[in-house]
């Protein structure tokens, strides 16, 4: 066992981990931040996406020990300071960007990473960026719409395919 210390959603967090402990396991089991979901556990579905030092990673495919000293952001830290939903979360609600909600934490974290680098993405940019996020309800259309809306773009023109 080794001690790891990281910043999670702006607060210092530490704990004991084994070499094999995944970042997703550390967040969920040790820190009790269960908003980060584990869907496939094979780095395909993207439900476990968090940000490590500002970039999106699949936390089920990164060792907790590798995040020692890192700045980690999870879905729990996304809301505004007053507890209200942030722009992306609100857009998901407004545009029905979730059905069962299982993939939503990963979708929101991927969307946040996209909009940080590309504040006005095209619809195809959004779809391409979400290649590694799978929605088993197949609700992609409204997810894309929500992200476009969160970027401040008019989504009236996006028709269902």
């Amino acid at each position: 066992m080794a001690q790891v210390t990281m910043t999670v959603n702006g607060k210092a967090a530490s704990g004991e981990v084994e070499g094999r402990t995944l970042l997703s396991s550390f967040l969920r089991d040790e820190l009790k931040l269960t908003g980060t979901h584990v869907g496939c556990d094979t780095s395909q579905c993207g439900a476990c996406v968090v940000h490590v030092d500002g970039v999106a990673v699949k936390s089920c495919t990164m060792l907790a020990a590798e995040a020692d000293g890192a700045d980690v952001a999870t879905i729990e830290g996304q809301a505004n300071a007053d507890g209200s939903l942030n722009v992306i979360q609100q857009a998901f609600q407004d545009h029905h960007g979730l059905q069962c909600g299982f993939c939503t934490p990963g979708m929101v974290m991927s969307a946040a990473a996209l909009l940080k680098d590309n504040p006005k993405p095209s619809e195809s940019d959004v779809r391409e960026y979400l290649e590694g996020n799978i929605c088993r309800c197949t609700g992609y259309h409204n997810i894309v719409k929500a992200i476009m809306a969160a970027s401040g773009q008019d989504v009236g023109a996006i028709a269902a395919e």
Partner: protein
């Protein structure tokens, strides 16, 4: 996943020392190795992360004009910073998905030599030099079959040097579930000839298509390879496509790559 010890050295020398332990294994971005460990297909006693070694990070241009990429550089960094070699940057920009590209490394991909990975095609197609902690290996000598390379136990890819071609392009026919190449063709035109490297197709891993190289060196246009074909007999035959289908795709994707490069 079986448990293991974790080490994160900050220099190549320390990493080499750490890898001296029996059953120690190097860890790049882990995007293949961690899933492999989860399936218990490997059981190292110690993982040595190469991500903390600053001398193995980043993209720069060497004195001879070659693009030099640190072995622990992520695909996302290559996509963003290898602008001097656009076809290479574009290849990196289409590996896996964005989160995978933020972790996966060029050294990890080349050391693993997955028969359907993109970077082996780019390295072989560019005649790159694989630089390790102990020697320099020409790409033509480096790839030795599916998941097999010239690397010795404990040898680390510290840098990869790509000579920048006059024109190049990579065309990947994506296997839609995995995003790996069902067939991927990297074509690069240098002053002394054209190189064509194909991934995803052969049971022996990435390979050069000599006949297409000769035809394209004489005439760098897509129709120069009309009439040329590869046999599907020794190609990967799986539920995603037969060997014959992959052989057909090799020619199709080569033409597309030439058309896009010229």
């Amino acid at each position: 996943m079986y448990n293991f010890e974790f080490a994160k050295p900050s220099s190549v020398a320390d990493a080499v020392a750490a890898l001296g332990d029996e059953d120690a294994q190097a860890l790049g971005g882990g995007q293949t190795l961690i899933p492999t460990l989860k399936q218990r297909l490997a059981s190292p006693t110690k993982l040595v992360s190469l991500k903390g070694i600053s001398e193995m990070q980043g993209v720069c241009t060497g004195d001879d004009g070659a693009l030099c990429i640190g072995g622990a550089t992520s695909h996302a960094t290559v996509a963003a910073e290898a602008g001097a070699y656009p076809a290479l940057a574009s290849t990196a920009a289409h590996i896996g998905d964005p989160a995978v590209r933020n972790r996966g490394t060029i050294g990890g991909s080349l050391a693993n030599n997955d028969p359907s990975a993109c970077y082996p095609a780019a390295a072989l197609g560019s005649g790159a030099t694989i630089v390790t902690n102990s020697r320099e290996i020409a790409a033509d000598d480096y790839f030795q079959g599916m998941f097999t390379t010239a690397l010795d136990e404990g040898e680390i890819i510290t840098e990869v040097r790509f000579p920048v071609p006059e024109a190049a392009n990579y065309q990947k026919f994506v296997q839609p579930a995995s995003r790996f190449a069902l067939v991927g063709v990297f074509v690069a035109k240098y002053a002394d000839g054209v190189r064509v490297a194909i991934t995803g197709a052969s049971n022996d891993g990435v390979f050069r298509w000599a006949e297409a190289e000769a035809a394209l060196s004489a005439n760098f246009s897509a129709n120069a390879i009309d009439g040329l074909s590869l046999s599907g007999d020794d190609m990967i035959n799986d539920l995603h496509g037969t060997g014959a289908y992959r052989a057909h795709l090799c020619a199709v994707m080569t033409k597309r790559a030439v058309a896009a490069a010229s």
